[in-house]
């Protein structure tokens, strides 16, 4: 049975209000902006966002009022600096108060590995001596170690280079915390640049990110990670981040950006029509040398 559906359907069915959602697990690459924008369009509320740094995606969701809590190592705009919506939420409760559970990049990974292995917490030597231990109730100390409580997302949303209709997803490049997020989550929603046949995905089972039993939706969404980069498909659109940083500096500017880039755009295909694809498309291909999966 196919798992292919539109992003609107996937968000409608698998990202309810109040959900704990892991996103942006690739740190700066393969950020599922299309999914985030659809969540904003559908007016999701009270979400808990889980991720390492998410580039500017979390800032956008926070600014749009979708988020109750953020469990992350860093929220901002990687190449531009501070996240203005994040600041306003924390400093002025605009548009709504925000609970923050601080992590480091390593500790958020361990929180997801703890959930993946179904243990209450995992120990680590990182964060010793950091005041992050003071603010996050999910971190405790004992026996000279920090114990990082498991974080189990209801859903992990990832963007990948290619997937088949059954949810077998291939991604390449640095993976950040993508694998543990998918394993820890109850469900995984995949958006992909290319929807391919099982002949492609099963030709290389080592590159399949998650067990298909976790994947509930596959959305064919070319450009679904813009403005973040997708190895082999799109470069990073630096200008888009700069534009967002400037506009989001004020509430009015953010709202204008939001209307123009998200609310007034029916879907990703329409959004992509506004992008100068030729400036960011990767055209020089570098195919990997195949592995030989032969058995006879």
């Amino acid at each position: 049975m196919t798992k292919v559906m539109s992003m609107a359907q996937a968000v409608e069915r698998f990202v309810p209000d109040g959900a704990t959602v892991a996103m942006g697990t690739g740190l700066e690459a393969l950020i599922p902006f299309a999914a985030g924008h659809e969540m904003i369009r559908q007016g999701r509320r009270d979400l808990e966002l889980v991720g390492p740094i998410s580039d500017s995606l979390f800032d956008q969701l926070i600014g749009a009022g979708c988020v109750r809590r953020v469990t992350a190592a860093w929220v901002g705009n990687v190449s531009e600096g501070l996240g203005h919506c994040y600041r306003r939420a924390c400093e002025q409760r605009i548009p709504a108060p925000l609970e923050v559970r601080d992590h480091s990049n390593f500790s958020i990974s361990l929180a997801l590995w703890a959930a993946a292995w179904n243990v209450p917490s995992l120990p680590t030597r990182t964060l010793l001596g950091s005041d992050i231990l003071r603010t996050n109730p999910d971190l405790s100390t004992g026996d000279g170690l920090v114990h990082v409580k498991a974080v189990r997302p209801d859903v992990a949303i990832v963007h990948v280079q290619r997937a088949d209709e059954h949810g077998r997803a291939h991604a390449w490049g640095p993976l950040g915390i993508t694998e543990e997020a998918g394993l820890a989550a109850d469900r995984v929603v995949v958006s992909c640049e290319e929807l391919v046949g099982p002949d492609v995905t099963l030709s290389d089972p080592n590159r399949i990110l998650f067990p298909e039993t976790k994947v509930v939706a596959v959305v064919h969404e070319p450009g679904g990670a813009h403005p973040s980069p997708v190895q082999g498909h799109f470069k990073r659109d630096h200008a888009a981040y700069r534009d967002y940083a400037e506009k989001s500096r004020s509430v009015e500017g953010f709202e204008q950006w939001l209307r123009h880039q998200v609310l007034d755009v029916p879907d990703r295909a329409s959004y992509m029509k506004g992008i100068d694809l030729e400036a960011i498309r990767i055209t020089h291909h570098r195919p990997s040398v195949p592995a030989d999966l032969g058995h006879e």
């Binding site: 690459a29 390492p52 990049n105 950091s130 950040g176």
Partner: protein, 255 residues
Amino acid sequence: MSSYTQQELMVAVASREIRDGDLVFVGMRLPILAYAVARNAHAPTARGLFEVGLMRDQPASAFLGTMGDPPNVTGALWATRMSNAMALMAQGNVDLGFIGGAEVDRFGNLNTSYVGDPRQPSVKLPGSGGGADIAILSRRWVTLMSHERRRLVDRVSFITSPGYGDGTPGWRKRNGLLGGGPVSIITTLGVLRFPEGGGEAYLASFHPGQTVDDVRGNTGWELKVADDVSETSEPTKSELEAIRHFDPDGFWTRG
């Protein structure tokens, strides 16, 4: 007007912290350039480790806006999960890390989380990212920041990435911190260093055009000064060429 920007000088100074053979945990922004410069000059066998999940033995062939940009992946020695990169650091295999700072204190502690009460901060900064991990686990680390009185403070109100804590001897060891701690703070005005074994930062050099008094006047505590304090060596021609090669539009270094 000098023939290089403050940022270019900082990158050159940072690159000199990299020793040949080092495994360098490369942070965002200027450190990406510092690794590129060092690798092309005095540290040809230094490798870069990126928390996103990459290892490289040469700079990317094109400009990087982030460590996750495609040019950083092509030609990588390893594309993996973040937790694997962190594993190397947790084992003490990372010789040097770089962390960007918003606020630093005399004992090298960094705050990139909250100004004011965390429950109602006057400024919410982005957070740790990998900073706390680097500060705690790398063998030695360096921070780069803008030298302003409000940024170089006596004691940070929130330690995101620990340096030498309260400055008492053995603070890191007592608290179980694996790595050696910060070795220098490279600012827009000068270079602060820490004594062997840690403790309080002192001024080791001031950048061309600055004086010791300029630097002290912009520091939020009574900054100690090295007996042999001197002017920071300017970027060499080849350092500048490398910087401008890897940041051709001055995205990070336009000053």
